[in-house]
């Protein structure tokens, strides 16, 4: 199976560093990435997923309003016929200091398959993508290459 991922930052959030890093890391890994960038709405994620026949949507949220922005996302996906598309979300998902487990739990109940705290390294997410989509690790072939 091939990973076809829609990647973006949801809501009124313009944090772009992590988005660029994930784009690069996923692409290097051989995944097919459609990056819709920052300031993206739920609809934009869903439209991009339909257009590219994606099997995964990876949502970032860094400005603390992630919970509000992600509400109803799974339901919209189902309505659009994307019930089998895997949903990942990660970043600073809530405002202020909160325990991680309840946050993860809330997002799982909202229909997200994987939920990541801030500072998660790309390799962790990549491993999960392989597991969840049943993609073999081709090892050496896709190691990070020099680009300088």
């Amino acid at each position: 199976m091939e990973a076809k991922i829609v990647l973006g930052v949801i809501g009124a959030d313009c944090h772009s560093v992590g988005n660029k890093i994930l784009d690069y890391a996923f692409s290097q890994e051989g995944f097919k990435v459609t990056n819709i960038g920052v300031l993206s709405s739920q609809e934009e994620f869903i439209n991009a997923a339909i257009e590219t026949n994606a099997n995964m949507i990876v949502v970032s949220s860094l400005y603390g309003h992630g919970e509000l922005d992600c509400r109803g996302f799974k339901e919209k996906c189902i309505e659009a016929g994307l019930e089998d598309v895997k949903l990942y979300v990660g970043g600073n998902l809530v405002v202020g200091k909160q325990e991680w487990e309840p946050v993860e739990q809330r997002f799982k109940e909202m229909g997200f398959d994987r939920v990541y705290p801030p500072g998660t390294k790309p390799e962790v997410t990549i491993r999960h993508i392989r597991e969840d989509l049943g993609i073999e690790d081709l090892g050496e072939q896709y190691e990070m290459r020099s680009i300088s």
Partner: protein, 482 residues
């Protein structure tokens, strides 16, 4: 309207102004004559520009926090706390995200909801919604100068309202409040809109009122090579000066390597003054260092160390002002107490290091030269592709990646350059994209990264960039395995 780096005539400005004031109902309360009178009636100690000049003369670094909440009373209470308890020298009003997107209707809702909830439902102070009367109330409740800090691509109405309210400084610029803050707004548009903001400041300046303008230095705040941020700062400074601005603060976000950070501030000041002189602008230049803009440790003791390091850097660099982080940085919007804590730690460090500098450092001197040479390559080229026009050149240079900001969200940014740290933690170019940096300078950069690669026994690669970005959450500067 055609974009040119040329001072707007007063007619053009006043013509444009009619449309601007119509953007939201509070616009109609802005009256320039009344504003001039109001601004003239204010005591000197509430003037941002004067306070900065005074600090520069006395070789002092001033303290400014970030802060803003939805409701007037709460906002005033917050600012007074930071003034009295935190010891702020200058006050901010951080503007909320709706205002930054000119979504004043939603700002209105945010205010209502905040009243109901009994706490701020907005991440800043919606100055346009509160209008001139509200903003004047803020100013009159404190006894130090006020500045709007935001991230607004089109800040024309906001600027009208804050200046008419006696807020004598405005942060932002056509590049620095677009490329790092917007996705698809064109540079032509934001450069024009910020010419308006600068022209407004110039209008007051012509009437004897000192208004300070501060381009946003740190840009994306992550591994931005100093020559990139200094170039943008100097361009925005020149664009502002053309519109009649006489009080300019140029900024820089701490990268973490002391030698490079001190050099960057020194180079910025020297080179900006050289350009102002070359183009015949009479500008009072001051500088601002932003404490570490990258990821912060969650642990508050560790956060204090990061804050203190930023304070030490500001003091040793002789920056006129330092923008302060808080020990809650990693977890979001800080309490006012946490905000004051960051300020107290910073003030302590500033007073301790008041008498110290890095003037005897050859490393700093060399780095200043390197930064200035890189900046010259970039600005010379902007003028070349702009056929002598800095504003036109800026648009064209961004279009073809000859100006490029790492990790920026805008689709009008090429996003082809990549930064990485060298073996001492200074930020260098790993990939130049289409930047017109001379081969000689590239060689210096490349050698520095080669040393790191050799040290770490690996290739110079994107993995270094990733490692450097993740390094600081692990408490380190360089993403190596030591």
């Amino acid at each position: 309207m055609e974009l040119k780096n040329k001072k707007w005539s007063e007619e053009r400005f006043l013509e444009e102004r009619k449309k601007v004031l119509g953007q939201w109902k509070t616009g109609e309360d802005v009256n320039l004559e009344d504003a001039v009178e109001y601004l003239k009636s204010l005591p000197e100690h509430k003037n941002f520009a004067k306070r900065l000049i005074d600090a520069k003369r006395n070789n002092k670094t001033l303290l400014q926090p970030r802060a803003g909440v939805a409701l007037l009373e709460e906002h005033i209470e917050l600012l007074k706390y930071l003034q009295d308890e935190g010891g702020a020298d200058l006050l901010p009003s951080t503007i909320d995200s709706y205002t930054r997107q000119n979504r004043y209707e939603e700002g209105e809702k945010g205010i209502e909801e905040s009243k109901k909830a009994g706490r701020s439902m907005l991440n800043g102070f919606p100055a346009v919604n509160h209008g001139v009367s509200g903003c004047r109330q803020v100013l009159e409740s404190v006894h130090i100068p006020l500045q709007a800090r935001h991230g607004t691509p089109d800040a024309r109405l906001l600027s009208e309202i804050i200046h008419a309210s006696g807020w004598t400084s405005n942060e932002g610029g056509g590049i620095s409040y677009n490329i790092p803050y917007a996705k698809s707004v064109t540079l032509e548009q934001t450069l024009l809109d910020w010419q308006y903001c600068d022209r407004l400041a110039g209008y007051y300046q012509e009437r004897g009122i000192d208004i300070n303008r501060e381009p946003f230095g740190p840009l994306t705040g992550t591994l931005v090579p100093p020559s990139i941020s200094n170039t943008i700062a100097i361009i925005e400074g020149l664009l502002a000066a053309e519109q009649g601005v006489k009080h300019i603060t140029l900024g820089y976000g701490q990268c973490g390597n002391l030698t490079q950070d001190v050099a960057a501030i020194k180079a910025l000041e020297e080179q900006a003054n050289e350009y102002f002189k070359e183009y015949g602008y009479d500008v009072e230049l001051t500088t601002v260092l932003h404490q570490w803009m990258g990821g912060f440790p969650e642990d508050e003791s560790k956060a204090f160390a990061v804050i203190s390091w930023g304070a030490a850097t500001a003091a040793l660099a002789g920056a006129t002002k330092v923008i302060v982080k808080t020990p809650h940085e990693a977890i979001g919007i800080p309490t006012k107490e946490a905000n004051a804590q960051g300020m107290k730690a910073t003030k302590q460090m500033l007073s301790l290091l008041r008498e110290q500098n890095m003037e005897n450092s050859k490393g700093v001197a060399d780095e200043i030269q390197l930064i200035k040479k890189e900046v010259k390559c970039l600005i010379d080229n902007v003028l070349k592709v702009g056929e002598g026009d800095l504003a036109v050149g800026t648009v064209r240079a961004f279009k073809n990646g000859m100006l490029d900001i790492p990790f920026a969200p805008s689709i009008h940014n090429a996003g082809k350059i990549l930064p990485a740290r060298d073996v001492n933690g200074a930020v260098r170019y790993l990939s130049y994209g289409n930047l017109p940096i001379s081969d000689e300078l590239k060689e210096i950069n490349n050698k520095l990264l080669d040393i790191r690669a050799k040290n770490e026994n690996r290739e110079v690669s994107f993995q270094m960039v990733v490692d450097d970005i993740f390094a600081v959450s692990a408490g380190k500067l360089v993403g190596n395995s030591n």
